[in-house]
């Protein structure tokens, strides 16, 4: 009798706890979803009217950015291209270096070496971007200027160097994880058939880890395209079309960060509209990432 009522009481208590905890988790889950929804709404709400006033075509394909003058232009094509060039450059340098590092650490290097190198690489991911920027301004910019004897070191090339460095940890850690998750049988079968270690790595393991590595690359692209502070400090930020590897250029994020302070009226909404374009870029990247991981998952099954 008393046992049964105690059990009932206990059950009731557990039920209440479960209810409370589940709802707490639900609220927590909603916080981030709500944040995304609010930010999305805010960017489009503040940016779209300006974009429509300027004309979407003129905004995206215009090449003249001079928003404070009477007959000023609101074209952000130079910034769109700037972001794309800088990101592409960072991928071209950063991905091979990152991938080879991952191969080395997961397959070739002796244990003691990778025990030293992995924390070092993870540390690279934790350095604040303003520190990267400062390093770029004090070391890379003067180096680029001297080495190539240029009028100035602030350039697309300097930004690419900094960004390559910044995407390395993302590319490396995700590649290591996906190479390590390649089933042992693949490797053993390949070696048993007489393939060398290098052949096995590049013809069996990397293709098997392809979708994971690609995810790392996409995340790296996301980091590079969204990077602001470090790029501002080394890019030169001129609003003109980038004319070459050594020309001063401006990215989409840089455009917003540099001019937000004093902007008002249409200039301000044009900056929000720049945010809309950036948002669309990131959305596309995320969709690509989702497609890749879904496909990768299907293959592994």
């Amino acid at each position: 009798m008393s046992n049964a009522s105690e059990l009932k009481k206990f059950n009731k208590k557990t039920r209440i706890m479960t209810f409370l905890v589940e709802n707490l988790f639900m609220v927590c889950a909603f916080v981030s979803v709500l944040a995304v929804a609010i930010i999305t709404f805010f960017i489009f709400y503040s940016g779209l009217p300006g974009m429509i006033e300027i004309g979407i075509f003129d905004f995206i394909f215009g090449t003249d950015w001079s928003p404070v003058y009477a007959d000023g232009g609101f074209g952000i094509l130079p910034m769109i291209l700037g972001s794309i060039y800088a990101t592409a450059g960072a991928i071209i340098i950063g991905v091979p270096v990152g991938l080879f590092t991952a191969v080395m650490l997961s397959r070739i290097a002796p244990k003691w070496l990778s025990r030293i190198m992995r924390p070092a690489i993870e540390l690279l991911a934790g350095i604040p971007s303003v520190v990267y920027g400062f390093f770029g301004l004090m070391v890379i910019v003067p180096f680029v200027q001297k080495f190539f004897s240029l009028p100035m070191g602030q350039s697309l090339f300097s930004a690419i160097l900094i960004l390559s460095l910044m995407i390395l940890p993302t590319v490396i850690t995700i590649s290591i994880t996906s190479i390590n998750s390649v089933p042992r049988e693949y490797t053993e079968a390949s070696l048993a058939l007489g393939a060398t270690k290098i052949e096995t790595i590049f013809k069996v393991e990397i293709p098997a880890a392809k979708s994971g590595i690609l995810s790392g690359v996409i995340l790296g692209i996301g980091r590079a395209i969204g990077e602001t502070m470090a790029v501002i400090m080394v890019a030169g930020n001129s609003p003109y079309m980038p004319t070459g590897l050594f020309s001063s250029f401006r990215t989409l994020t840089g455009n917003i960060a540099i001019e937000m302070g004093y902007a008002s009226g249409l200039h301000r909404s044009a900056l929000f509209a720049t945010g809309v374009i950036l948002f669309v870029f990131i959305m596309i990247l995320n969709l690509v990432l989702m497609a890749i991981t879904r496909k990768g998952g299907a293959v592994r099954e």
Binding site: M152, N237, S238, Y262
Partner: protein, 275 residues
């Protein structure tokens, strides 16, 4: 229970006192002060310091209101001439056509801009025309001015920056300044110029230091004294205009602006004081 009642009464008393205290004109020292009401309209550049000045003025004379509006120097002159505003603001000297209409000029501050280069640059002086040519890209190599055979790298500020607006306005370079490098603060311009022997930039004269070299313009050095007296040409006066002698409200505000307190605010905002 009794404790709660006592607490409630004390709280109510505190609230009442706070309420009455709020009604009294009090500037914190306990003495009552006068209240003023005035409108200030005109140059957006002057607005940048008129805003903080108005805030401090309202703090000093609680209950007063000094309403600051932009619109541009020409609007400031017109509104003051028509008596629509108590004070008009202009960031330039009055044109001939604007003079003789009974406006009284009060120079509240001077905005000076230093043209800066790397300390290793062999040139020490430039003419206004050379400055215009350098910044608009007509002169592209320092050798054209007798300097070293190095390309000129123009360092500018971002769109919307007050310093850039003033620089372009004074030198008649609106929408013509090259933007080879765009830095988003005075400090960044200084750092960029200090780090590149080919660079030339401009900064508010109040922020000069030895990391960069200020050019002598048209034979006049960029010093506070020269800016104050107006002989240094890359500068402009910040004027407050009144129709005839200022009325009671405008006088109280102008007195505040010319007081040490007001001039300190002006200096803090990066402009040259006039007292």
């Amino acid at each position: 229970m009794k404790f709660h009642k006592v607490l409630a009464i004390i709280m109510a008393a505190v609230l009442m006192i706070a309420l009455f205290a709020g009604c009294k004109k009090d500037n914190g020292t306990g003495e009552e002060t006068d209240t003023y009401k005035l409108s200030i309209i005109g140059s957006t550049s002057v607005q940048a310091i008129a805003g903080p000045l108005a805030e401090a003025f309202e703090d000093k004379y609680p209950g007063s209101s000094a309403e600051v509006q932009g619109g541009g120097s020409t609007v400031g002159v017109t509104q003051a001439t028509e008596g629509a505003a108590d004070i008009g603001m202009a960031s330039r000297n009055l044109k001939d056509s604007e003079q003789g209409k009974g406006l009284v000029e009060h120079k509240i501050a001077v905005d000076g801009i230093a043209i800066v280069v790397h300390p290793n640059n062999t040139l020490t002086s430039l003419t206004t025309e050379q400055v215009q040519n350098l910044f608009s890209g007509v002169i592209t190599n320092w050798s054209e001015l007798g300097g070293a055979d190095n390309p000129v790298v123009v360092v500018s500020r971002e769109e919307g920056s007050g310093t850039r607006g003033a620089f372009e306005e004074i030198l008649d370079l609106e929408d013509m300044v090259l933007q080879t490098i765009v830095s988003d603060s005075t400090g960044a311009v200084k750092a960029t110029v200090a780090g590149n022997e080919n660079a030339i930039g401009y900064i508010s004269a109040g922020s000069m230091d030895s990391s960069v070299k200020a050019m002598v313009i048209d034979g006049v050095e960029c010093t506070t004294a020269n800016i104050k007296s107006g002989v240094y040409t890359v500068s402009r006066p910040f004027l407050m205009l009144t129709l005839g002698e200022p009325n009671e409200n405008a006088k109280a505000f102008l007195d505040f602006v010319f007081s040490k307190e007001g001039q300190d605010i002006i200096e803090n905002e990066g402009y040259v004081r006039v007292d």
